[in-house]
C-alpha cells in the first residue's frame, strides 16, 4: 500500500502500478479500482484536508502531477475528446516495446508506436471550470485555513528554468515569459513575495495566485463576474460526465498537469510545419487559445473523483454523506430560534430599525427553489426592498453586510450604463467555440443584489432591454435563456434576487416590502458610520452564516391537519373580500409560511407559523396600502 505521501504526491505512480498489475489478468477492472482507491483514501478522517487546493495555493507551489483539489464551477463544457488510453512505446535503442497507460495524462512518453495493435482509444470530456463566481472573501479564507496540506514550493520549480531545460522550446519560452514580465509590472510590490516566498508563508496568501489573474488581458479566462480572480482549470473527466451539469459546483480531486509541452504544442501552431495539416490550420486562433491555453495559465486537472457541492459554506460539514449532514443539522436545529432572534436584531439594526423588513430579509436569505412543478419554480422568494435611502451609499453598505453573511453573492448596480453594456446572459461564441459567460451564469443559491437606486433617467438600448428581460425571466421563472445565436437554450437556475430600490421596482418580484426607517434622515449618516463599527465578532457572524445555510438545507412538510386549516382560512378570506386575495396571494403566503417555519428550525408547518405568516403578510400589505396613499403616483 502506498503511503499518504505517495498517493498525494505521486498519484500517477499509484495509477500506473495498478495498470501494470492489471496486465497479468486482463479483466481486473483496474480503472474502477484506481478510482475506488482514491475515494477510499479521501474518506479517511481529514484526509481531504491534506490535499492541497488550487483555490488557495498559488500554482507554482504545487507539484506537477500531484493530487490537488479544486472547488469550482462548471462554466463551459467542451467537446469530448479521444485519447490514447493504452499505447505502446518503442525504445529506440533496444526496440523493446512497452505498454503504457495514457489515462490521467496529457502527454505521451517518447517513441509512441502509432501502428501498434495494442493501442486502445478512449474517450474523455473536458469541462472548463472557474472558481465559484461571487464567492465571498470570508469563504475563501475559511477554506484556506482549514486546509492542512503542507506545501513546500517544489524546489525544482523556477518556471522559466524548467522550460529552458528543453532546448527545443526556446521559442516558446519567449512567448511565455513575456506576459510574465508584464504581469510583474502589473502586480507591483506583490510579486516579489510571490516569487521568493516559501511554503510557510502560504497562510498569508489567502488569495489565489494573482499572477494568473492580472494577465487577463493576455487571455480571457471567461469568468462570469467581472473582477473575479483565481485560477481556471480544464478539468478532464473520465467517467460519468453526463451526470455533471453546467453551473454545477464541484470539488474536484484530480491530478494536476502543467506540462509545458502542452503550451508548446499550441504555440507551435504558428510554425509552418503545421500549415499543411488540415485539422490544425482550420481551427481559428481564438479557438486554439480557448481550448488549449498555456498550461501555466490554465492548468489541466485530470479528475479522479469529484463531489457535487450542495453549498459552499466552509462552516458546514461538506455534504459528503447525508448521514453526517443530518446529524449536524439536528444539532444546530435546537439553537436556531435563538440565533434567529440575534440575527433579527442585527438586521433590524442594519435596516434602520425596521423589524418587519428584517424579518422578510431573513426569509429571503434562506429561500431556495426546492422543486419545479412543470414550469413553475417553487420556493423562490424574490424580495423588492423599496424605500431604500439614497444617501450615504446605504444600498452598498447593505450589500456589504449581506456579503458577510452568505457564501456567494454579487452586487449588480442597475445603472443605465451597466444595463446597456454588461453582458448578463451567456452567449455562445462560435468563432472561439466557447460559451462566453455573463453575470447571470451563477451557481445555485448565489445572492444577486440588484441596486436599482443607481438607475437614472435615460434610454435603454437593445442590449439594455434584453438584459432587463433576462432579469425579469430570472426572477419570474428562475431560468436564463443562454444565447446560442441560432437558438436559445434554457438553463434553470436558483438565484436569490434581492432588489433594493427607491420606489417600486421595474422588475417583477415575489414580494415587495417598503422600508420604514426609524432613523431621521439627518442622522442617517451618523447612524451608518456607527453601524459599520458594529461589524460582528467573528463567532457571532459564523453563527449567522451557519444558520442561514442550514435553514436552506432543511426538509419541510405540511401535515393534513394544517392543510385543512390553511384551506379553511383561504376560503374565509375570500369570503370576506374576494378582491383582496387571489391565488397568487395564497402562493406567496404558503412560501412565507414555509420560510418562516424553516427560519425557526421547524420542519413542518404549525398552526402558529401559519398565523404568524398571515400576520406579517397583513402587516406588509397594510404598509404597502399606506404607502400607496402617501404617494399616489405609485402604480
Amino acid at each position: 500500500m502506498p503511503s499518504t505521501h505517495d498517493w498525494i504526491n505521486d498519484p500517477l505512480g499509484v495509477v500506473e502500478g495498478m495498470f501494470a498489475a492489471s496486465q497479468s489478468n486482463p479483466n481486473s477492472g483496474w480503472e474502477a479500482r484506481a478510482v475506488e482507491f482514491f475515494k477510499d483514501r479521501l474518506k479517511e478522517k481529514d484526509a481531504h484536508t491534506l490535499v492541497p487546493s488550487l483555490n488557495d495555493i498559488p500554482m507554482h507551489y504545487l507539484k506537477p502531477n500531484s493530487l490537488v483539489k479544486f472547488r469550482c464551477f462548471i462554466q463551459d463544457m467542451f467537446d469530448p475528446e479521444f485519447y490514447m488510453g493504452v499505447y505502446e512505446t518503442v525504445d529506440p535503442a533496444t526496440q523493446a516495446k512497452t505498454l503504457r497507460c495514457g489515462k490521467y495524462k496529457d502527454v505521451t512518453e517518447c517513441g509512441v508506436d502509432f501502428n501498434s495493435k495494442n493501442t486502445v482509444t478512449a474517450e474523455r470530456q473536458t469541462f472548463y471550470c472557474v472558481p465559484i463566481p461571487g464567492e465571498n472573501p470570508w469563504v475563501k479564507e475559511r477554506y484556506a485555513n482549514s486546509s492542512q496540506a503542507r506545501v513546500v514550493p517544489s524546489t525544482s520549480y523556477v518556471p522559466s528554468r524548467q522550460k529552458r531545460s528543453y532546448e527545443e522550446d526556446d521559442d516558446m519560452d519567449d512567448m511565455d515569459t513575456q506576459p510574465q514580465k508584464q504581469r510583474e509590472a502589473h502586480a507591483g510590490p506583490q510579486s516579489p513575495t510571490e516569487h521568493h516566498g516559501n511554503g510557510d508563508c502560504k497562510r498569508q496568501e489567502t488569495e489565489a495566485p494573482s499572477s494568473q489573474t492580472t494577465s487577463a488581458s493576455h487571455l480571457d479566462l471567461n469568468f462570469p463576474l467581472p473582477g473575479e480572480k483565481g485560477p481556471s482549470c480544464l478539468v478532464k473527466v473520465y467517467e460519468d460526465w453526463d451526470s455533471f451539469k453546467l453551473n454545477d459546483m464541484l470539488e474536484v480531486y484530480g491530478i494536476l498537469s502543467v506540462s509545458p509541452a502542452l503550451s508548446a504544442l499550441a504555440d507551435e501552431k504558428d510554425a509552418s510545419s503545421s500549415l499543411l495539416d488540415p485539422t490544425e490550420c482550420m481551427e481559428t486562433a481564438e479557438e486554439q487559445r480557448v481550448h488549449c491555453p498555456p498550461a501555466s495559465l490554465v492548468p489541466r486537472l485530470h479528475m479522479l473523483y469529484a463531489k457535487q457541492l450542495q453549498h459552499n459554506n466552509p462552516l458546514l460539514p461538506s455534504a459528503a454523506t447525508s448521514e453526517d449532514n443530518s446529524a449536524f443539522l439536528a444539532s444546530t436545529l435546537s439553537e436556531m430560534p435563538s440565533v434567529r432572534e440575534e440575527l433579527l436584531a442585527y438586521l433590524t439594526h442594519v435596516l434602520l430599525g425596521d423589524a418587519l423588513a428584517a424579518e422578510y430579509l431573513i426569509l429571503h436569505l434562506i429561500s431556495n427553489v426546492y422543486v419545479r412543478r412543470d414550469v413553475l419554480p417553487l420556493g423562490k422568494f424574490t424580495l423588492n426592498m423599496s424605500g431604500c435611502p439614497t444617501v450615504a451609499s446605504y444600498t452598498e453598505r447593505l450589500y456589504q453586510i449581506i456579503q458577510q453573511l452568505v457564501p456567494s453573492s454579487h452586487y449588480l448596480g442597475m445603472s443605465l450604463q451597466n444595463m446597456n453594456q454588461m453582458r448578463l446572459v451567456p452567449k455562445k461564441d462560435y468563432v472561439a467555440n466557447r460559451l462566453v459567460s455573463g453575470a447571470l451564469q451563477l451557481a445555485k443559491n448565489t445572492s444577486l443584489y440588484l441596486d436599482e437606486t443607481q438607475l437614472e433617467q435615460g434610454q435603454l438600448d437593445t442590449t439594455g432591454v434584453r438584459n432587463v428581460t433576462a432579469l425579469g425571466n430570472l426572477i419570474s421563472w428562475q431560468k436564463v435563456d443562454y444565447d446560442f445565436n441560432y437558438h436559445q437554450m434554457e438553463f434553470p437556475c436558483n438565484i436569490n434576487v434581492l432588489i433594493a430600490s427607491e420606489g417600486r421596482s421595474l422588475l417583477p418580484s415575489d414580494c415587495q416590502i417598503h422600508l420604514q426607517t426609524q432613523v431621521a434622515p439627518s442622522h442617517l449618516e451618523e447612524y451608518l458610520s456607527t453601524m459599520h463599527m458594529l461589524s460582528q465578532a467573528s463567532s457571532q457572524l459564523n453563527k449567522f452564516r451557519i444558520y442561514l445555510s442550514v435553514a436552506r438545507l432543511l426538509d419541510y412538510s405540511i401535515s393534513d391537519e394544517v392543510t385543512k386549516s390553511v384551506e379553511d382560512d383561504f376560503v374565509d378570506m375570500r369570503k370576506d373580500d374576494p378582491q383582496s386575495i387571489s391565488a397568487e396571494d395564497l402562493h406567496r403566503m404558503l412560501v412565507v409560511a414555509r420560510l418562516l417555519s424553516l427560519s425557526q428550525g421547524q420542519t413542518s408547518l404549525s398552526r402558529d407559523s401559519w398565523l404568524r405568516a398571515k400576520h406579517i403578510e397583513a402587516l406588509r400589505r397594510s404598509r404597502m396600502e399606506q404607502h400607496k396613499c402617501v404617494n399616489g403616483n405609485e402604480p
Partner: protein, 868 residues
C-alpha cells in the same frame, strides 16, 4: 519546402477545371495509414499499399497523354469539343489501371500522366476524399492479403469484403430494388413499382449529374450483410459501389456523356446517431448524424499533387501529397542539378475542401448540458452546400487523427482530433420551406414506446387523462386544457392546392382572455416548454418584424439575409403570444395572413417571398379595464379587431369564479403543490415525457379522415348552430365555425389514435366549441350566444337596437314638420323624452349617422339639417 507549399496554397491557382482535381487517394488517405491510424482501427494498419491502387475504371490512353491536370480539360474534351470529358472512353469497357502506375509515375517524368492521374478527372472525384483505400477487386496484387489464389476468396486486407461479391451484390441491388411504399420526396415522379435505382440511373443519363444517392435503409432491407459491410468498411465498399454503378451505367447507356464517373453517396445510415453518442468504436465507420451548421470556413484549396519544374533543363515532375507533405525532389533526374526544381503553382492539382462545424440540435440535448460540436470536412462539390444555421443530416466517415508528431519533440499530446468526412448532406429544414413533408424531422420511437403509447391510447379515458396531465400545476380550467390539448394535436392537413382550392388550415388557434392572475401566462409557458417547436413572445415586446422576418446584413458574408421571426420559427409548432392585447395594431395585422392562410408574405429589401408559417397560435389577452366586465362583450372587453378574433377557433374566458367550493378546491390544490413528495413529482415528470411522445407520435403518424356518420353529424351540428340564431334574426354560425368543428373533431380523433373521425369526436368538438362560445360570444344584454359578436364586432341585438333608434329619430324629425335645421342638443333631448329606454349620446350619434348614410340629413357642428 514549407514556404513553397504555403504559397502554393494561398495562391488562387487552383486548377481551371475546378472539378477535376483530387486524386483517388486523397488527403485522408495518408492519415489513415500514417502514424496516426487510430488504434481502434486494428484492421487497416498496413493497407497503405492498397490505398495506392487506383483501380478506377479508366478511359484509355487519350487522356493519359495530357501532361498536367490543368490542361487536361482541353485535352480530354478534344474528341468532342463541347463536352468536357470524353465519354467515348467511358463507354469503353472499364479497364482497371494497374496499381503500379501511380507509384512510379510520380517521380519519373517519362511515365507521367499515368492513368491514375487522369482517372480522377473522369470520375470518382467526389468519393475520393472519403475513400481511403481503393480496394481493387481485379487487382489480385498487393491489395489482397490473403493467399492470392482463387479470386473469389480474396478479401481486402483487414476486412471481410470481397470486392467481386460486393460489386455483384450491389449491382443486383441496383437492378432489383423496388420500394413500392416509398414516400421520399426524392423519389417523386418515379415509378415505385419499377426498380428504383435503375430509374435513377436513367435520370443521371438524362440530367448528367453523376451522383447517385443511395438510401442505406434500402440496402439494409435488400441485403443486410452488404449493409453491414458498407457501414463497417465504407472506404473499401463505397469505391466498389462506384465501380459497380459505373459498369452498370455504361453498359446501359453507352453513349451518355458524364463529366465524371458516377459516385455513390450513401445516406441515412441507420446507425443515425446523436453527436453525443459518438464514441471511439465509430471511428472509420459510416455514420449519419444530425445537427445544425454553425460555421463554415472559406474554401480551402488543398494541394493534391505538386508540379515541379527544373529551372535548368525545364524537366518537370509531379509529386503527390503524402500525409500532408510534399517531398520536394532535391535533384533533377534529367540534368542532375541539385536544388533546381521550383514549384509551379498553376500546374499543381488542388481539390476543394471546406471545414464545417456542426452543433447538436437543441432537441437532442439533455437538460443542463451545452451542445457538442463536431468538425466536418466537405470536399469538392459538397463545398458550400450548406450554410450556417441549416439543420442537416450528415452522412460520412468518422475519423480520428492523432495530433501531429513533431520531429522536434519527443512526446506528443495523447489526444486525437476527430472529424467527419462528409459524403452526403441532407438538409432537414429545406422541406419546411417547400412545405413538402414533415417526415424529415420524424422522431423515431422505440417499439416499447410505441407499445406504451398505444396502450395508453386504448384506454377509454385517454382524453381526460391527457388533459389532466397538461399543466398539472394549474388548477381546473378543464375545458381550456382540453382545448389546448386538441390544439397540440391539430387537425389533419389537407392539401387541395392541386384542385385550386388551396390549403386548409389544420392548426387550431386559441385565445385565452380573462382576469389578470389567472395563470394564463403559466399555461402559455407550459405549452411552450412542451412542444418541440414552440416560440414564446410577449405582445408588449414584439414588433411586426420580430414576429415575421427581417432582413439584415450578415456580419461575415455581408450579404443580405432573411432572419425569421417567431411565427416562422414556430412553423409546425405553436406560437405562444402573451399580452396579445398590448400588441400594436401594426404587429397584429401580420397575424391575419398567418392565422388563416398559414403563410407570411415578405417584400422588403429586394427580397420578395412567401414563407410557411403553419403555426398554431395560442394567445392570451387581458381585459382593457384590467378586470373582466361581465356586462360587456368579449370584443368590448379586450378591444381586439373582430377580424382577428374570428380566426380563433376557440376563445376561452379565464375568470376568477369566486365561489366557496371552488376556493376550497383551489386552496387544496395549491397547498398540495407545496408539499408533494419527490416520488409524486417523479411520477408527474414521467407524464410530461409520455405526453410529449404521445403528441409527437400522433402528429406524425395519425391523420384521421372524416367518416360518413361524422360528416353527417357535423352537418347537423352546423345546421343546428345556424338555426339557434335564425329564430331571433341572428346568425350564430359561419362557415369558419364549421371548419373549426372539423379541425377539433379531427384533433380529438388523433387523441384516440384513430384514423377515422367518428361521431364521438364530433360530439366532443361540438361540446368544446359550445363551451368556448358560451363563454366568449354570449351577448351580455340578452344572454344568448351570438356569434356575430365575434365576426362583426357587434351583437345582433345591438344592431337591431341601433336601427330602432334611427327609425324613432326619423319619425321624430318627420313629426316636427318642415324644419330644415335643428339644434343637436334639442333633438337629443326630444328623443330622450320620447323613448322609454335610455338613449346614450353614442346611440344617438349612431342613429344620426345611420340617417346621414341614408342621405336623409347631414350633421354640421351642432346643427342638423334635413336634405330631402
Amino acid at each position: 519546402m514549407d514556404p513553397c507549399t504555403k504559397s502554393a496554397m494561398s495562391s488562387p491557382a487552383s486548377t481551371p477545371g475546378g472539378r477535376k482535381r483530387g486524386r483517388n487517394t486523397n488527403p485522408p488517405t495518408p492519415s489513415s495509414e500514417d502514424p496516426t491510424s487510430p488504434p481502434s482501427q486494428r484492421r487497416r494498419g498496413q493497407d497503405s499499399s492498397t490505398g495506392d491502387l487506383m483501380p478506377m475504371p479508366t478511359s484509355p490512353a487519350t487522356d493519359i497523354l495530357s501532361p498536367a491536370a490543368p490542361q487536361d480539360t482541353s485535352l480530354l474534351s478534344s474528341p468532342r469539343p463541347s463536352v468536357p470529358p470524353n465519354e467515348v472512353d467511358m463507354s469503353s469497357p472499364l479497364m482497371y489501371g494497374t496499381p503500379s502506375s501511380r507509384i512510379e509515375g510520380t517521380p519519373r517524368s517519362g511515365v507521367r500522366g499515368t492513368p491514375a492521374r487522369q482517372r480522377p478527372d473522369l470520375g470518382s472525384v467526389r468519393k475520393a476524399p472519403q475513400v481511403d483505400l481503393h480496394s481493387e477487386p481485379p487487382s489480385t496484387d498487393g491489395a489482397v492479403a490473403s493467399e492470392s489464389n482463387a479470386g473469389q476468396r480474396l478479401v481486402i486486407w483487414g476486412t471481410d469484403v470481397n470486392v467481386g461479391t460486393c460489386k455483384e451484390k450491389f449491382q443486383r441491388f441496383l437492378q432489383r430494388f423496388v420500394d413500392p411504399t416509398s414516400t421520399e420526396d426524392e423519389n417523386a415522379g418515379l415509378d415505385l413499382n419499377e426498380p428504383l435505382y435503375m430509374q435513377k440511373l436513367e435520370e443521371i443519363s438524362v440530367v448528367g449529374d453523376p451522383v447517385m444517392n443511395v438510401n442505406c435503409r434500402h440496402v439494409q432491407s435488400f441485403d443486410a450483410d452488404l449493409y453491414r459491410q458498407l457501414i463497417c468498411y465504407p472506404q473499401e465498399v463505397i469505391p466498389t459501389f462506384d465501380m459497380a454503378v459505373n459498369e452498370l451505367f455504361f453498359e446501359r447507356f453507352p453513349d451518355s456523356f458524364l463529366e465524371y464517373q458516377i459516385q455513390v453517396r450513401p445516406y441515412n445510415a441507420l446507425k443515425t446517431k446523436s453527436m453525443r453518442s459518438l464514441n471511439p468504436e465509430d471511428i472509420d465507420q459510416l455514420i449519419t448524424i444530425s445537427g445544425m451548421v454553425i460555421r463554415t470556413s472559406q474554401l480551402i484549396p488543398e494541394m493534391q499533387e505538386a508540379f515541379f519544374q527544373c529551372q535548368v533543363c525545364a524537366y518537370s515532375t509531379r509529386v503527390e501529397v503524402d500525409r500532408g507533405r510534399i517531398a520536394e525532389p532535391a535533384v533533377c533526374r534529367h540534368c542532375n542539378t541539385t536544388h533546381s526544381l521550383a514549384l509551379i503553382h498553376n500546374r499543381s492539382v488542388f481539390s476543394d475542401k471546406q471545414m464545417i462545424k456542426i452543433q447538436e440540435s437543441p432537441e437532442d440535448m439533455p437538460a443542463g448540458q451545452t451542445p457538442h460540436t463536431t468538425i466536418v470536412y466537405a470536399h469538392n462539390d459538397l463545398v458550400d452546400k450548406v450554410q450556417p444555421g441549416d439543420r442537416v443530416n450528415i452522412t460520412g466517415i468518422y475519423r480520428a487523427v492523432p495530433m501531429r508528431v513533431n520531429p522536434r519533440q519527443s512526446n506528443v499530446k495523447s489526444v486525437y482530433k476527430t472529424h467527419i468526412d462528409a459524403i452526403h448532406f441532407r438538409k432537414t429544414d429545406e422541406k419546411r420551406l417547400h412545405g413538402l413533408d414533415e417526415e424529415a424531422e420524424q422522431k423515431l420511437f422505440t417499439e416499447d414506446r410505441v407499445q406504451t403509447l398505444k396502450e395508453l391510447a386504448a384506454k377509454p379515458d385517454v382524453y381526460e387523462r391527457l388533459s389532466s396531465a397538461l399543466a398539472p400545476s394549474i388548477y381546473e380550467h378543464e375545458d381550456i386544457k382540453k382545448g389546448i390539448l386538441l390544439q397540440l394535436f391539430g387537425g389533419t392537413r389537407k392539401d387541395f392546392s392541386q384542385t385550386g382550392r388551396g390549403n386548409f388550415r389544420a392548426e387550431v388557434n386559441i385565445l385565452l382572455c380573462g382576469d389578470p392572475g389567472t395563470s394564463k401566462s403559466q399555461l402559455l409557458q407550459y405549452v411552450y416548454n412542451l412542444v418541440p417547436r414552440g416560440q414564446y413572445t410577449s405582445g408588449k415586446g414584439s414588433s411586426a418584424v420580430g414576429l415575421t422576418a427581417y432582413v439584415m446584413k450578415d456580419p461575415e458574408t455581408r450579404q443580405l439575409v432573411l432572419q425569421t421571426g417567431a411565427l416562422v420559427l414556430s412553423d409546425n409548432g405553436i406560437c405562444c403570444i402573451d399580452e396579445f392585447d398590448k400588441m400594436s395594431d401594426n404587429t397584429r395585422s401580420v397575424l391575419h395572413e398567418v392565422m388563416e392562410q398559414q403563410t407570411l408574405s415578405i417584400a422588403k429589401a429586394g427580397i420578395i417571398c412567401q414563407l410557411n408559417a403553419r403555426t398554431a397560435v395560442l394567445a392570451a389577452a387581458n381585459p382593457v379595464e384590467s378586470q373582466w366586465n361581465p356586462k360587456k362583450t368579449t370584443i368590448e372587453n379586450i378591444q381586439l379587431p373582430h377580424t382577428l378574433l374570428s380566426r380563433f377557433d376557440l376563445i376561452f374566458l379565464m375568470l376568477d369564479p369566486q365561489d366557496e367550493a371552488y376556493d376550497r378546491r383551489l386552496a387544496h390544490h395549491l397547498v398540495s403543490l407545496y408539499y408533494q413528495t419527490e416520488e409524486q413529482m417523479e411520477e408527474e415528470f414521467l407524464d410530461m415525457a409520455v405526453l410529449k411522445d404521445y403528441i409527437a407520435y400522433a402528429r406524425t403518424y395519425i391523420s384521421p379522415r372524416l367518416s360518413e356518420e361524422a360528416s353527417q353529424a357535423l352537418i347537423e351540428a352546423y345546421v343546428d348552430m345556424r338555426k339557434i340564431g335564425s329564430g331571433r334574426g341572428m346568425v350564430s354560425a359561419y362557415p369558419r365555425q364549421l371548419e373549426s368543428l372539423i379541425r377539433l373533431a379531427e384533433a380529438h380523433a388523433k387523441v384516440r389514435f384513430s384514423e377515422k373521425v367518428e361521431t364521438i369526436d364530433v360530439e366532443e368538438a361540438k361540446r368544446l366549441h359550445r363551451e368556448a362560445l358560451k363563454q366568449s360570444a354570449t351577448d351580455p344584454r340578452t344572454g344568448f350566444v351570438d356569434i356575430s359578436i365575434l365576426t362583426t364586432g357587434m351583437s345582433a341585438t345591438a344592431r337591431k337596437r341601433k336601427e330602432e333608434v334611427a327609425q324613432a329619430l326619423k319619425k321624430l324629425i318627420q313629426a316636427k314638420g318642415k324644419t330644415p335645421a335643428m339644434k343637436y342638443q334639442q333633438l337629443l333631448d326630444d328623443l330622450r323624452g320620447q323613448s322609454e329606454t335610455a338613449i346614450t349620446k353614442e346611440l344617438f350619434d349612431e342613429a344620426l349617422r345611420a340617417l346621414a348614410d341614408e342621405d336623409y340629413l347631414t350633421v354640421t357642428g351642432k346643427t342638423v339639417r334635413l336634405l330631402a
